[in-house]
Amino acid sequence: MVMNEQRRALLKYSAVFGLMSTAGLISVAQAEEWNKAAFEGKSLDEVFKALGTSSPDKSSTVVLTAPDIAENGAVVPVSITSSLKADQMAILVEKNPAVLAAQFFIPNGTEAFVTTRIKMGQSSNVYALVKTDGKWVMAVKEIKVTLGGCGG
């Protein structure tokens, strides 16, 4: 990447986030669609709130597939499926510095299924959230981590 472009991108990025943080403004660039409040949540409650829920009910319609023991916390495969039609899904790791790992938006015609890989700093409960008809439900699973993957 050319130096100028990089500098411009950096300037643009810092300007935009500066604006957002001081005035709470939402502007036009793509990056602002990112749910900053949710990704900066340091606790389950903060993330739940940023996602527009207080405490989602546990539901057997949500299935979280992940290993019981992850030898390497840097790469933990996690899969969410739901028997209901999903609009949105999210993966939360209770003991990570940033609790929300990822969220997904599922348009009509796309299945309620996603697999990805996440980092875990230590053993923790992992939450799979699924939003159906405006309501969040969830599944929880404890994953034990042998070697942490956030600082290493």
Partner: protein
Amino acid sequence: MSDPMRIRATEKDGIVDVKILMKHDMESGQRKDASGKLIPAWFINMLNVKAQGKDVFNAEFGPGVSKDPFLNFKYKGSKGDKLVVNWIDTKGDKRTDEATVS
């Protein structure tokens, strides 16, 4: 310029299975370099997938997604669908790759 994504998309019984492997360090902002200084966070935070020009998947990532992010999802589609995958990271770097469903 970042390295290309690897995209594999195959159709069976009207369902397209899409696997995407991105190339990105996904710095969490938690790691320290050799001198003990924190390495600033730098990660892909948004991803969009279109098939035939229509959204089929959107993702938002935090720093807790693994290095070289992997995604697998499924949508109702056909062989020959043209997929366009876009990501953007927290420094504003972007990458677009295309694939055809087989």
